[in-house]
């Protein structure tokens, strides 16, 4: 199972990339744990996770081919 990940704003800076794929992650909580291990600064960050363009809440079950976006607070306008 493959998930495409997009990172935006300060999160892209922290992880050093804005787009990559990841395998064998089933749920958004697993992904968060995985990323926060690799990039400890993420632990103190506020960010939302969108899956296939919809913002998720709680622990969200992922499906193969999902596009997941890591989004810090918006600052448009």
């Amino acid at each position: 199972m493959k998930i495409k990940i997009l990172a935006f704003g300060i999160i892209a800076d922290i992880v050093g990339k804005s787009e990559w794929t990841i395998e064998n992650i089933q749920q958004t909580d697993d992904l968060k744990k995985h990323l926060e291990n690799l990039y400890p600064r993420l632990k103190s960050m506020k960010y939302a996770i969108a899956v296939n363009l919809v913002i998720t809440s709680g622990n969200f079950e992922l499906t193969d081919g999902a596009i997941l976006a890591l989004m810090p607070p918006f600052s448009g306008g």
Binding site: D13, F74, G77
Partner: protein
């Protein structure tokens, strides 16, 4: 009055006064309009840690942003009695003093245009995945945080 097609919102670079004038001028054939309300977001030269912001560079999650803009449009058309609605937002670099957001609502009577304009601006700030990077004179930057 709703418009099902996704309208182009993003503009590369600043939104110019002449672009705004053209948008206004186009409405002089819509003679049932009595009121236009316009909001313009302008880039401020804030001083942060002693350094002056010279520009903001905007990026967005385009696909999701376009859906959100569309959703905001639909809700505003349902909620308010509007004749027209236009939303434009910059992507890329916008210098301080330049305009990065242009929301334009039109209605028969003033209340609808004014309330819809405020509603749309608030929704954009809260819900649309756009990020501003505030760039200082020395090319260093910080990520912008919106005041609620």
């Amino acid at each position: 009055m709703t418009n099902k097609k996704i309208k182009k919102v993003f503009i590369e670079g600043p939104i110019t006064p002449s672009f705004i004038a053209d948008a206004i001028a186009k409405h002089n054939t819509k003679k049932d309009i009595g009121a236009h309300s316009i909001f313009l977001g302008q880039v401020r030269n804030d001083i942060l840690n002693g350094k002056e912001v010279k520009a903001i560079n905007y990026t967005a999650y385009n696909e999701m942003a376009e859906e959100k803009f569309h959703e905001i449009r639909e809700i505003a058309f349902e909620k308010y009695s509007l004749t027209c609605m236009h939303i434009y937002h910059s992507l890329g670099g916008v210098n301080s003093g330049e305009i990065s957001l242009f929301v334009f609502t039109s209605s028969k009577h003033r209340k609808d245009a004014m309330e819809a304009c405020t509603f749309i601006v608030n929704r954009i700030k809260e819900e649309v995945p756009i990020w501003g990077k505030e760039i200082f004179e020395d090319e260093s930057y910080i990520w912008k945080q919106n005041t609620p």
